[in-house]
């Protein structure tokens, strides 16, 4: 066989985002050495964990060529429901599990509308984003739910440490390994790529495309609800406006990580790096005292540059 000139693009795709992350670390450390202090790094990991969990689920969806705008609202609604159950005296662990299950169901609803309803994922999740947010406001009456008790287990989830690491970061790492395995080592993962790469051919090949999609949107809902549980614990309350615009940070992380919005191409590790880039930017700019208005400008510009670099290679 003849050689193909694929080397360069492959290397950029694998290591480009990672390189950018390392560069970012160096620049910020030079500007403010306290960035590298262990405390700040642990803080950074805790801050990124919520976006990471959502972005992991989002990666699966984007790999199939879809999108999910409703994750922030799912986070808020499941958080409110968890808090509500706890206030009414349900065991916190049970409340969290039920809340996560409800989040999964919300995702499954998205999946059914997309696959069986044959509607565009953008439209479906735009609508459910509004609906789930609306239900959150109805349920909370627009006010935060507080007084959710002082179960130590529950407090741990958002604020505790395990072996010196923040529990949310531990959850993030565990979730990463489980989902990485699912995506790259199982037939389910293979089907995810197949659908994004060529949906028509996937159908002809006997892949139950609809079923896989429902499962993937369900997964994204689950991840959003887990993030919701962590947030609820961290704030010790459920906020009706929680999770607003989180979908954007998640999509940005996925794209920064090199996953193609048209599906079929990308890796979960890339998303992890993307999440860390966004987290580092936030954390670093705060340390450097950049105004939050400028922060937004910088974040947007970084996304554009990343996508542009990704383009250049092909």
């Amino acid at each position: 066989m003849k050689l193909e000139a694929t080397g360069k693009s492959g290397i950029w795709q694998k290591f480009g985002p990672l390189l950018a992350l390392v560069l970012l670390f160096i620049v910020i450390t030079v500007l403010n050495p306290s960035f590298m202090e262990p405390n700040n790094i642990l803080n950074l990991l805790r801050q990124t964990s919520i976006n990471a969990l959502i972005a992991f689920g989002m990666t699966f969806i984007i790999l199939t060529g879809g999108i999910d705008l409703s994750v922030g609202s799912i986070l808020a609604l499941s958080s409110a429901l968890m808090a509500g159950m706890m206030v009414s005296g349900l065991d916190p662990i049970l409340a969290i599990l039920v809340g996560i299950l409800l989040g999964a169901i919300m995702g499954v609803i998205n999946g059914i509308l997309v696959s069986k309803g044959k509607m565009a994922p953008f439209i479906v999740t735009l609508a459910t984003m509004t609906i789930f947010r609306g239900l959150t406001l109805v349920y909370t009456d627009g006010k935060p739910i507080t007084g959710i008790g002082d179960s130590e287990m529950f407090q741990m989830l958002g604020r505790g440490y395990f072996l010196g690491l923040p529990v949310p970061a531990v959850v993030m790492v565990i979730a990463f390994f489980i989902l990485w395995f699912l995506l790259h080592k199982t037939s389910f993962g293979r089907k995810t790529y197949a659908i994004g790469g060529n949906e028509r051919a996937s159908r002809i090949s006997g892949i139950k495309v609809d079923r896989v999609k429902v499962a993937i949107y369900g997964l994204a809902g689950t991840m959003a609800a887990i993030a919701g549980a962590i947030l609820t614990s961290r704030l010790n309350s459920a906020q009706p406006t929680a999770g607003q615009s989180y979908e954007m940070d998640a999509i940005a992380a996925v794209v920064l990580g090199g996953t193609s919005l048209s599906g079929g191409k990308g890796r979960l590790f890339g998303t992890l790096v993307g999440v860390l880039i966004i987290g580092t930017l936030n954390n670093g700019m705060n340390l450097l005292g950049v105004s939050s208005f400028y922060q937004q400008v910088v974040k947007g510009a970084v996304i554009l540059i990343a996508v542009l670099l990704d383009r250049k290679k092909s």
């Binding site: 066989m1 037939s187 293979r190 790469g197 892949i207 079929g264």
Partner: protein, 493 residues
């Protein structure tokens, strides 16, 4: 497995595609299914394998009436279908492509990569394929992609294998190997349905033949009891003239001159010239680099070095738009992806490269466009309910005709055609040859890359033979024989 399809009817909306088809398949036979483009061959097989449902009629498998819910169910009961349009996942690797939809995994869904590799290795050995497993399938040539599809079907241990134009993208060597494997399968009792427009193949390998015309079965016969002419006559419903039209070449000045074209690892030091009104055939084995040379010439890929001169002026072609500006046109071998906009109508597709002449002021003069499209539809016998039909709904061969029609309307100085008649029925092939004659009479130069030797010899004024990325030799029409071409193409032995 024994199959009996009885009185099958199928319509897509108003379009009646099958009207009372009978078809039977015995265990261990190779059954040819022939018919013009759009006769309904692929549709019939799609019905058999559960992708479409017939409106009327019955399917019996081993004498019990059967109807598959979907293609998965057909596959599970022992049927494999190598489809006419390749089902390739371009971003996934060769190995991943081989196992999509039937990955080997443990009960928890964890993939068994080692086992899949071993299994693939075995099948690649039987088929004599040497493709790296981790190559992205999108980077494979059409021929290689076809081999992936064949390997995929053979891996399933199916009792019935349907092959819809499997050899269209293959060259003689691969075809020979494939035939060997097919014979071996029939000895094990596997039945094969073989759809092809290549008459020689049908007579070389099949046991029985069923001819379809306009959605009906015309006849089923043993191969031994029929002949070439009878089959063609049944297919088209009339006598056909010679396969190749008479050709009188009047070459003019040199229009395209290529010197020292090199792309490392693909081709080296390519020299050739083409004159106005000349047809230059380019022969060679699959993977010899013919398509790569043409792609580079057209600016799809970058060359490392070399010089291109058009009408005496040195030009630099870095992207396809440069090529078009300098008067080149390119009909690619990969038509489905590179040649058509599947959601556009037949008319819109044909009109696309000709918008300048139909719409000089920017306003599309649809009158002209319609007339031109209808003329082309008629000449090439494109089977479509109207010029407004969405092209994705046409049969494979008819889509190819539209691509040809599309480019023939432009007036390039040099027209490059890569496998111009692949998958096209005998009647329409001749029309395309006649169009090529007309183009050269207008002074257009044609470069025709083809793997069909009869076509190369029947139509070219001059033949270039490519071997492993180099031009192994040049033959004039008068001196060319099948043996000479093959000798050059295989490196002289």
């Amino acid at each position: 497995m024994q199959i009996e399809m009885h009185n099958i009817y199928k319509a897509f909306g108003q379009n009646k595609v099958l009207e009372g088809v009978h078809f039977s398949l015995e265990a261990g036979e190779i059954h040819a299914l022939m018919g013009e483009n759009g006769a309904g061959k692929s549709t019939l097989m799609n019905i058999l394998t559960g992708l479409h449902k017939q409106d009327q009629g019955t399917i019996k498998i081993n004498s019990t009436e059967t109807s598959f819910k979907d293609s998965k169910e057909a596959e599970e009961s022992g049927m494999a279908f190598i489809r006419q349009e390749l089902n390739i996942w371009p971003e996934m690797t060769v190995l991943e492509n081989l196992f999509i939809g039937r990955e080997m995994s443990n009960p928890f869904g964890v993939l068994k990569n080692k086992q899949m590799k071993a299994c693939a290795k075995e099948i690649f050995k039987t088929l004599n394929i040497s493709l790296p497993f981790d190559k992205e399938a999108g980077l494979c040539s059409v021929g290689e992609q076809q081999m992936i599809e064949i390997a995929k079907a053979l891996m399933t241990d199916a009792e019935v294998i349907i092959m819809d134009e499997p050899t269209a993208a293959l060259t003689d060597r691969e075809i020979e190997k494939l035939f060997e494997v097919m014979k071996g399968l029939t000895n094990k009792g596997v039945s094969l349905v073989y759809i092809s427009h290549r008459m020689e193949e049908i007579f070389a390998i099949c046991d029985r033949i069923t001819v379809m015309r306009d959605g009906k079965t015309v006849d089923t016969k043993r191969i031994a009891d029929t002949n070439f002419d009878e089959v063609v006559q049944k297919m088209v419903g009339r006598e056909l003239e010679d396969r190749f039209p008479h050709r009188e070449a009047n070459p003019g000045d040199i229009v395209l001159d290529v010197k020292g074209l090199t792309k490392k690892g693909l081709f080296e030091d390519i020299h050739f010239a083409v004159r106005q009104g000349e047809i230059v055939g380019v022969a060679g084995l699959m993977g010899a680099g013919r398509t790569e040379i043409m792609r580079a010439l057209f600016g799809v890929d970058q060359i490392d070095s070399g010089e291109i001169t058009i009408e005496g002026k040195k030009v630099s072609i870095r992207k396809p738009t440069d090529a078009v500006r300098h008067g080149l046109a390119f009909i690619t071998e990969n038509r489905k992806e590179e040649g058509l906009i599947l959601d556009f109508s037949v008319r819109e597709n044909i009109g696309l490269p000709n918008l300048k002449s139909f719409a000089p002021s920017g306003i599309v003069k649809t009158e002209d466009e319609i007339n031109f499209a209808e003329m082309m539809i008629k000449r090439l016998h494109v089977k479509t309910s109207s010029a407004e039909t969405i092209i994705g709904n046409l049969s494979g061969g008819n889509q190819q005709k539209v691509v040809i029609a599309k480019w023939i309307g432009t007036s390039p100085k040099v027209l490059i055609m890569d496998e111009p008649t692949r998958g096209i029925d005998v009647g329409a092939k001749r029309e395309i040859y006649e169009l090529m004659n007309e183009l050269t009479e207008r002074g257009i130069a044609v470069i025709m890359v083809s793997s069909e030797l009869p076509e190369i010899m029947g139509m070219s004024d001059r033949i270039l033979v490519v071997h492993e990325g180099e031009i192994a030799g040049e033959l004039l029409k008068q001196e060319a024989t099948q043996e000479k071409i093959m000798a050059l193409a295989t490196g002289g032995n």
